[in-house]
């Protein structure tokens, strides 16, 4: 199966780079717009501390996970390969991971909001490369997960 893709990739690099550039750009800007919109929507407070903020009493907790698998497009991968010849910052891969992290955090926050949480504590972010072909070469795609403990609280009146 990956052989077929490899043949396809070898056969028409120019078309693929063009496709990656145009379609990839559209998908990416749409994604960034959606991220900005949803982030502005507000929700529970996110923190990676293990404690609740002062003056809040816990009511109920739930373990929440937000995850996403995100891939880079062909144009950006090509650019990154060229750039890695001379070294330095690979901006194209940075944006891929930024999209993944923001999406994972948003999904975590949405899940916590569904539970009715006010705070999500002890958030951990993790990235794993899950796509490898038979030669052990990995595709520029990664899974990003964000997990934490969502807590429903009531504020103490006497503080």
């Amino acid at each position: 199966m990956s052989d077929f893709i490899n043949i396809l990739l070898l056969a028409s690099p120019v078309i693929l780079i063009a496709m990656g550039f145009i379609i990839g750009k559209v998908i990416e800007s749409r994604h960034f717009r959606s991220l900005a919109q949803r982030e502005a929507g507000g929700g529970p407070l996110l923190t990676n501390l293990k404690y609740l903020p002062d003056g809040q009493t816990p009511q109920a907790t739930k373990f929440c996970i937000g995850g996403v698998v995100i891939a880079s497009d062909y144009f950006k991968t090509f650019g990154a390969k060229l750039k890695s010849l001379v070294g330095g910052r690979l901006r194209t891969i940075e944006t891929m991971l930024e999209r993944g992290r923001r999406e994972a955090l948003l999904r975590l926050r949405e899940q916590a909001a569904e539970f009715g949480a006010d705070v999500v504590i002890s958030i951990r972010l993790e990235t794993a490369v899950i796509m490898k072909n038979k030669q052990g070469k990995s595709y520029p795609a990664a899974e990003v997960i964000a997990y934490g403990t969502a807590v429903r609280t009531t504020a103490n009146d006497n503080i």
Partner: protein, 112 residues
């Protein structure tokens, strides 16, 4: 009886009365060829690979429920300090692993 899960050492509002020990759960999943093909195409245009996201989410729930089952068998009512990890063990397959400490929790008396 549902097992409480938390990735903090202490569950807010509860105190740990007994520590039982490390529990873990894992699962290794492979995607089917059709999904792999779609994922391969997706690396051309970029963006989220929904098939894989779903698959890994399901698999992670499986790993967590195995961990919870183990904790329940040991007589715990909660697993605290849960950590998750993912690794690619071979081409086209991923291992999802969840581990934590099984404990017995008791509700704290409300502080006056």
């Amino acid at each position: 009886m549902a097992i409480y899960l938390s990735n903090t050492e202490q569950v807010p509002g509860y105190k740990v009365t007994r520590q039982i020990g490390l529990v873990s759960g894992n699962t290794i999943r492979a995607k089917h060829v059709g999904r792999d093909f779609m994922a391969g195409l997706k690396t051309i245009v970029g963006g989220e690979i929904k098939g894989y996201t779903e698959l890994l989410t399901e698999a992670r729930q499986e790993a967590i429920s195995r961990m919870s089952d183990q904790a329940e068998r040991l007589g715990a009512n909660a697993v605290v300090n849960v950590r998750l990890s993912t690794s690619a063990v071979m081409s086209g397959a991923a291992e999802l692993f969840a581990y934590g400490t099984a404990v017995v929790l008791e509700a704290e008396e409300p502080q006056q």
